[in-house]
Symmetry: C2
Subunit: 331 residues, 2 copies
DNA sequence: TTGTAAGCGTTATCAT
DNA sequence: ATGATAACGCTTACAA
C-alpha cells in the first residue's frame, strides 16, 4: 500500500505537505497540489482511513442500531440511510439490539469505540427509557433517533405521523359503519404506539363514541398475539380492530377466517406499516403506511446537516378489502 | 477515555505488560494479569479498536456487500450473518452495489481500506465476471461469496440448491399435469439462474418432454417483466411457468387474473424465493424457498472457520394454490 | 516475566 | 508555503 510518505519521497517534499495537498483546504501552492494529486493518482494512493481516524479521533463511519435488520421496515430504513450516507462519503456499521437493552448498550459502546461520526438509532422495546444513550455517546457523537424515539433526549428525531395516522385509520373504520372498534395497541413502552393509541382514542371521541379500555389490547404485536387478542375482541363484542402492526392484524384475520366471520362485511381490520404482503393477501389488508426508505434518508440527512429538530414523516392510509364495506377497491 | 498507559501508570508497570495482560495469550504472570484486569474494570477501560487495528493492520470488521439491503432475501442474509459475527466479536460494515459493478468495486476498495477481516459478497448483476474481486482484496482478505457466486474464484461459497430446486419445482408442475411448461429464467449472467434453468431443463428431459427455447424467457425478474413475459408465454401456448423469482411470478399472475385465466386449473405458477407474501396472497403462490437467514449464518461461519469449500443450502418447494390442481393445500 | 523502543499512517502544531 | 516533530493508542520484536 502506498502512503503519503511514498508520495513525498517521489516528489522530494515532506509528508505534511502531501497530507495538506490531499486534504484540500489548507494553504498549499496550487502547483504542488496539482503535482501531488497527479502523483497520488499515478501511484494508486488511497488514504488509510484507519490511520486518519485514529489521528483525528473521529471516523467517517455512521452507526445504525435497529432491533432487527431483517424486518421489512428496518431494512428499508437502512437501505435509505445507506444510500444517502454513502453519497456523502460515509459508511455504515450496523448493529442489532434484538430488542434487548443490553445489546443496545453494547452496540452503543462499540460505536463510540470506533469513534463513529454519528449514530442513527431506533431503540429496543426493552429500553423503556433512553438515559443510557447520551450517557454512552457523550456530547461529541451526534444522535439521530428514528421511529421509536425518546422525546426527552436531545438531537434530531424522525417519526411517523402516528397520531394522525391512527386517527385517520380509526375514523375510516367509523365511516365504514363499524360500531364497536377495538385496537391492538402494541407496546406502551414506545412513544410511537402511545401516539397511535391517542389517535385511535381521539377518533372515537371526535365521533362521540366511547373509549373503552376493555377493548384496548396492549401486547406485543406479532401474528400469534393478534390471533389471541382477536378472540378476546370478539368476546367483547367488537366488529372491527385498528391494529398497530400488520402482523398482529394478520393474526386477527387468521382467527376471523377460522371462525367463518366475513371480512369486511362482519368485521373490519386496518393494520399498520403497509408491509408488502398486505396488498397481495386475500382479503387484501387495509394498512396505515409508513415510509421507511424516506425515513432512513431523512435520518441520514438530519445527521449530515446537523439538524436537531423533529421531523414528522406522513403516514398514508391504504384502504383495501379488509375494511372496505363499500367495495371501492384501491390497490 | 482511559488508555493502557493510564492503567500502567496506576499499577506502576509498563503499557506493554498491560497490553499483553489484556490480549490474553502471551506470557504474563497470572498475578499481574489479574491485577491489570481488575484495574481495567475499575477504570472503565475499553480497548481502542481503531488504534489496535492500525497497529495490527487488520480490523475486526467484516464487510458485507449486497446488491440492495432492503430486499427481503438480502436483509435476511445480513441479519443471520450479523448475529453469528457479532457472537464472535466482529462487526459488520455494510455496502450496497445497487447492482452496478462500479459501486461494487468502490465498496471493495473501501473495505480493503478499512483492513476488514473478511468480505461477504453477493455480486451485482452487472458484474458478469469476478476478476475485480481478488484483484482488489488480494491474498490477505478472505472472501466468502453467497447466493450469486463466481465459481472460478477461490474461497468459500454458500449457494442455494438451485439445480435441485428448479428440478423439483418443474417436476411438480409436470406431475400436476401441465403440458407445456415455460420458464422465466432470469439473468444468465448469474450462476444461480443458470443452474435453475438447468434444473428446469433436466426435469423436462427426465419426463421425456421437449426443451423448447422459445418458451424460455430470460430477462430481469421483476413484476413488470413477469407480466410481459407471460403475454408471450400465452401466445406460445404455455399452460404453466416455473419462475426464477417471486416477483416475476407475481407479474405473471397479474396478467392471468386480468385475462380471466384460472389458476391453477388453466395455468400453473411456481415462483422462487418464498417471499413472505407468497403464502398470504390469493391465490397463494407455490414457491421454491431459499433460506436466507441460514445462508447468512453459514457465510459468517465459513469466514470464522476459515473454510474454503462450497456449501449448498437446500431449497424447499412450498406447494400452494397456484400450482395445486389436486387442491392438497399446504401452508 | 517484564521493560524498552519502534512504528502503524495520518494530522496538527509549531517553526521556518 | 513548506518542513520538522510530535502524537493518536496500540502491538510486538528485542533486550533484560
Amino acid at each position: 500500500m502506498v502512503t503519503i510518505t511514498d508520495i513525498a519521497q517521489a516528489l522530494g517534499i515532506t509528508p505534511s505537505t502531501v497530507s495538506r495537498a490531499l486534504s484540500g483546504s489548507t494553504r498549499v501552492k496550487e502547483e504542488t497540489r496539482r503535482a501531488v494529486q497527479k502523483k497520488a493518482q499515478e501511484m494508486g494512493y488511497e488514504r488509510n482511513v484507519v490511520a486518519a481516524n485514529l489521528r483525528k479521533g473521529r471516523s467517517n463511519i455512521v452507526g445504525i442500531i435497529v432491533p432487527r435488520i431483517h424486518r421489512e421496515f428496518f431494512s428499508n430504513v437502512i437501505g435509505g440511510a445507506e444510500s444517502a450516507l454513502n453519497d456523502a462519503g460515509y459508511h455504515v456499521l450496523i448493529c442489532q439490539s434484538l430488542e434487548t437493552r443490553d445489546a443496545e448498550i453494547k452496540a452503543l459502546k462499540t460505536l463510540r469505540n470506533y469513534s463513529v461520526a454519528g449514530v442513527l438509532l431506533s431503540h429496543a422495546i426493552e429500553s423503556t427509557d433512553g438515559s443510557h444513550i447520551p450517557e454512552i455517546l457523550g456530547r461529541s457523537i451526534p444522535l439521530v433517533q428514528f421511529d421509536r424515539v425518546f422525546p426527552d433526549l436531545p438531537g434530531a428525531k424522525i417519526v411517523g405521523a402516528n397520531y394522525d395516522g391512527a386517527f385517520k385509520a380509526t375514523s375510516h373504520l367509523i365511516q365504514q359503519g363499524y360500531k364497536r372498534i377495538g385496537t391492538l395497541a402494541g407496546y406502551m413502552s414506545s412513544q410511537a404506539y402511545v401516539e397511535r393509541l391517542s389517535g385511535y382514542r381521539m377518533a372515537l371521541e371526535s365521533a362521540n363514541l366511547p373509549y373503552d379500555k376493555s377493548i384496548v389490547f396492549s401486547d406485543t404485536i406479532v401474528r400469534e398475539t393478534g390471533y389471541q387478542a382477536c378472540i378476546k375482541a370478539l368476546e367483547a363484542g367488537c366488529d372491527a380492530l385498528y391494529c398497530a402492526g400488520d402482523f398482529c392484524a394478520l393474526g386477527a384475520i387468521d382467527l376471523l377466517k377460522e371462525k367463518g366471520i366475513r371480512i369486511p362485511e362482519d368485521f373490519g381490520i386496518v393494520g399498520t406499516a403497509n408491509e408488502s404482503f398486505t396488498a397481495l393477501m386475500f382479503p387484501s389488508m387495509s394498512s396505515l403506511g409508513q415510509h421507511p426508505f424516506e425515513m432512513g434518508q431523512a435520518a441520514a440527512k438530519a445527521f449530515l446537516e446537523g439538524r436537531t429538530d423533529t421531523q414528522v414523516i406522513p403516514m398514508e392510509l391504504h384502504i383495501r378489502q379488509s375494511s372496505n364495506k363499500n367495495n371501492t377497491w384501491q390497490k
